[in-house]
Symmetry: D2
Subunit: 387 residues, 4 copies
């Protein structure tokens, strides 16, 4: 595989916190001003794989916001998410990235086919201008409401007809998957949306020979669940209830205060425990918007479990994490891994990337250690050696 | 392998909380009065291995206490550790087990060779009376002070000479290992003592053809460390500090209030994080005796870690566990697994049982998931099928 | 005041956990088998007041359940709420109390005036048979939905007409207040219902010369709020958000899973922080039913606050309490205090008892220390001395 | 009282975190650039008292460090303790304050009388140059080891002789108290040292007619204890154990890693619970140095308590506070209150200021609410009205 050229990273939601942090990080690493903490692709187990370098990622994207990347980065620096000195040092670079971001309408009119066409055109244009060997589209926009099912989701030709009607048939995440595939780009869904998981879109990805991955980046509470649930299972301890409260501010918190997106998120978050343990576990799961917390998220989980001879015990944890700082390196990891998969000829879903997701596609393994091993073995099997 | 006969389980500290809970559990399971929650050997991944049945374990042992097993069980029932109805139902059986427990002196006089001889004689007598195919000695006595090193630890014949002197040369855990090997019994160290890890004792075990395992059962805080440390590692997150406070009452708490045993315990507890992450991590580790907590243990851990671009985050957990209920099924698991190893011709240390220990012998893998896989593969490789 | 005779304690919900614990406690104290931990009226500051003795309380009541008090007490003993030996020792006494409990229909038919008449007749009959100087009715039944307002609530004669109609006009807590007043009994609302707080009922209490108190016993999370909110206030620290999650099993948990009662409870719980700080504080308040927790309740609160020069800090607490054990002594305290108030000639609401309630009537002081001082001063002012 | 002139605030440890935060805050308030959150003297209950204005405080002091106040403020801004914009805006003002700070030797030679003389001369010089009506010396230096008792502590003339010897007889906090009194200045001990509590120094303060207050500012864990212990007491709940772990970085953490200062601190911290409850409470109290936490402190407390009929329950809290941000406004409060006391003719200890201290002088009231009431009443009694 030739990884000498540039790899495009097209972010849907390119001026949001996660995207801004990813852009600042990629630029910072490129200039030798930032470290690689939090990048899974820099772990000794994975770093030997033939992946494009972080330094060779070229960032562009779409956003509905008109606040520039520099402004967003400054706000994140004030909130303690980004180092102020790094943001200052990267000023001109951030402006350059910002020029590659196209502002799009929040509520576009007309048939979705036209919108998909414009997206695909932007992608092709970006690839050409930036001389990218390939482009990975990563959806880091805010959580959408669950998509109502529609007969046209089942079949590609039915979908193409439906897209030409006035009535929208795809959610944002799926429309971007469609457009990406049409433009020959790989796709990653970092949000809980349906993304490329519709049969019609799976068909299209296979036909176009492009790989995709998803869904919903695993950054906090679910990351912990993915090691704690296997622990209880391995020890034969019976989990009686698992209650979770997530307090978060920031844009994602505001979005998740809406019942629709909240339902999407909760559905995605609930798989890990249930599928790992193999039995239903009671307990509420709350996602609450607490504006003053900003980009920080506090999760409290209370797990009640039963040991030998019926003795009841409990585990509680409090996770205080910065979502953008946790998500951004995973976005860079996924761009590198999915680009390498594309170069290696993979098409369709990549279940070997389950490690990164709350709701992994075509994979029922939720244990983090097993997922990590899957990833390491898959990366080791990529043809070619890192340059 | 023929597992139709009885397997002896000789407990050092046979009237303590862990031993009593193990005895009540084994009897309860035998009578169909208790479930198998918490037994790793009953997990689908392991249950197919040719292990002796829980029902076929015959319990005996040594203790310095004269409080009978029934009395101890009643006290544990009052403290909420054992179900009162189960203890009542098992009254006569517990008295029968208690008759197989020999009271020993806390501070025996004379050369250790004589004492070892008496222990070995008790073991042979137990095996003969109870018609055991084999006996596994499990040390569940309270934590001892770290053993000062001695030249005789390095070589078996030097050790045998030294044992005939008046001055003691072995700690309790090592003396029991010596006596067990001499009597042809397998040995498990569930405490943080040196146990069989001295070169002289390793030599003896190989010569006698008996297997052994240890040390220090992994039941609470360290169990959590063994899934959380790999999680931080896999995600490339840098752990800055890991502070732990353990509050415990009960006999173990009282013992660990002494600086000697506390040092032993802390040494054993510290391996997991350091060896998993590969770099030193600052942070205090406290073990505090709080009598009113009885057999319950509360551990609070505070982990400070660094994510992408240097952002600091924290994880805290509070584990409220009943140590006896966590340890007892592991003791039964180990008796079954080590007996099967003995039957299968294994001798010397069993690193495949690292899953059960804070301080696993001959194994630097501390990740629970990897240890579990190791165990499952090893158990699958045992010759013979379960009857 | 003559406190030599018996004082009746009539419990609405007399076979519930709180009532059973109160009855077991009162009997246990009477027989010298139980201590007085948790009784505020036994604190040195209050114990000198001329209150009826715990030993002189005679318990009776209403319940919709047919499970006897003894059965309920045994179940609570199994769940760790009551000492098994105490329950066994009190067997015959509990049966005697149970004979004074009348089973009532959950969904009674006919006009509420008739039902109130039956309740009042039961109260008079109880007082006569048990030779009580006076009777205090305490509502410890499960939380009801908030009462829709009705014009008849404003005026006693309008209310009496309305009660004769087929359509119910009062919630359970208010109907009991009405019946209690009609029978010349004092009334305490330990639940979040409207109770005696309707103008028509206030009028009746004054006319009948009986005192009343309420509402919603302060036992756990709100108890903590009533000391923490004043702490932040006294230090001039600005609370930015206060989020609370309450996990509870048991009967109360099941009731509070319904949106109606949950709304009642949340309304009652929200006063303390807001009224103490004097400004609105954001943050969710969850009450979740987690059956396996039984009579235990776990509350986690996360408080984000701002210090000097805008620095953000947090306080979290986890309260693991047994609601019945916390509530029962307060029920006995209130019976003693309200009976003493009645004897001393008080009528109408007793704001001096705000210390006991989440939603204190006619009192905006929510600081526990100030409420305690109020209570102590009030008790000191009761005429007469304890015999 | 005439409060129109300047009031001197002389800080021992004037370039430390607390002092720097206090100086930045006072200057920021003076310029209208900072708010008054966290200042108790700005609470409506106290604000009416005739106190010198924050704007009229003139800061000076001693430190062993040569790092300027500006540098220290910049470091604190980077660590998130101070707002970067505020620090930038105050640059020249901080330099001016820094010129009023005199560097002193960490290990001065010669008799302590000479050293006291130099300190007193610096204080008189400061008062004269800055035209201060009066000066309050506040000790915010790091915690010292407990002072060995000495016969000269009992009597002023014996002390004066002893001070002329070569061997030191007073700890730092007491030497500063001596020098302050000699120079006619009031003194506040914000650290756990002996300060002015020696009989000889009490005698001197009375003779010189100056007031003093102490010791050990109550900023975090003990603040919580001072509301939680009274809560348990008021409810008649029995505290069985109270365990505390304090993790802290920064200079204070480093100092407290030494056994001597740690003993001082622990002694001071232990009064609240014991004296409030009136019985001894078991439980460890740890103070651990965790460098990466910087100026932030995390305290975890685990309280086990007993309710009605012996039921055991627990409360845990985690306090994540910024010590400097919590302490600095209290330093300004104390300067204002003690200056007002001095102006009003008070001399000797001021027990009415117990609200501010872990180890209040001449006061056994540790309940925060009662202490607040004491403060409010005392402030209301100060002669004169605020201008």
């Amino acid at each position: 595989m030739d990884t000498s050229g540039a790899t495009g990273l097209w972010l849907v939601g390119a001026r949001g916190s996660v995207a801004t942090t990813a852009a600042v990080g990629a630029l910072g690493i490129g200039h030798g001003l930032a470290g690689r903490t939090g990048l899974v692709t820099e772990r000794p187990d994975v770093a030997g794989a033939p992946l494009p370098r972080v330094e060779d990622l070229v960032v562009g994207g779409h956003d509905i916001s008109t606040t520039t990347l520099s402004k967003r980065a400054e706000a994140l620096a004030e909130g303690g998410v980004l180092p102020p000195a790094l943001v200052r040092a990267l000023g001109p670079d951030l402006e350059e990235v910002d020029r590659r971001i196209r502002q799009v309408s929040e509520h576009p009119h007309g048939p979705q086919a036209a919108r998909a066409g414009r997206i695909a055109a932007d992608l092709r244009d970006f690839a050409r201008r930036e001389r990218c060997d390939r482009v990975v589209v990563v959806n880091v926009s805010s959580t959408e409401s669950p998509l109502p099912s529609h007969p046209a989701h089942e079949d590609l030709s039915a979908l193409e007809s439906a897209l030409r009607q006035d009535e929208p048939v795809l959610g944002r995440s799926s429309l971007y998957a469609y457009a990406a595939f049409r433009a020959g780009c790989a796709y990653v869904d970092f949000t809980p949306g349906a993304g490329a998981r519709l049969p019609a879109l799976r068909e299209l990805a296979e036909r176009e020979g492009v790989p995709w991955a998803g869904s919903d980046g695993k950054t906090g509470e679910t990351l912990l669940k993915s090691v704690l649930a296997p622990m209880f299972a391995a020890r034969g301890l019976k989990v009686r209830s698992w209650a979770g409260t997530n307090l978060l501010g920031g844009g994602d918190g505001a979005t998740l205060a809406d019942p629709g997106p909240q339902r999407s998120k909760a559905r995605s978050k609930s798989r890990t425990v249930q599928e790992t343990l193999g039995y239903p576990v009671e307990g509420p799961l709350h996602i609450d918007y607490v504006p003053n917390l900003g980009d920080w998220k506090t999760a409290w989980d209370h797990i009640s479990f039963e040991g030998f001879l019926g003795v009841g015990m409990t585990l509680q944890f409090t996770w205080q994490g910065c979502d953008s700082a946790l998500a951004a390196p995973l976005v860079l990891d996924l761009a590198r891994l999915v680009a390498a998969a594309h170069a290696a000829g993979y098409s369709g879903p990549l279940p070997a990337l389950a490690f990164f997701f709350k709701d992994p596609v075509d994979c029922t393994e939720h244990g983090l250690a097993a997922q990590y091993e899957l990833l390491v073995r898959w990366a080791a099997g990529l043809p070619g050696r890192r340059t």
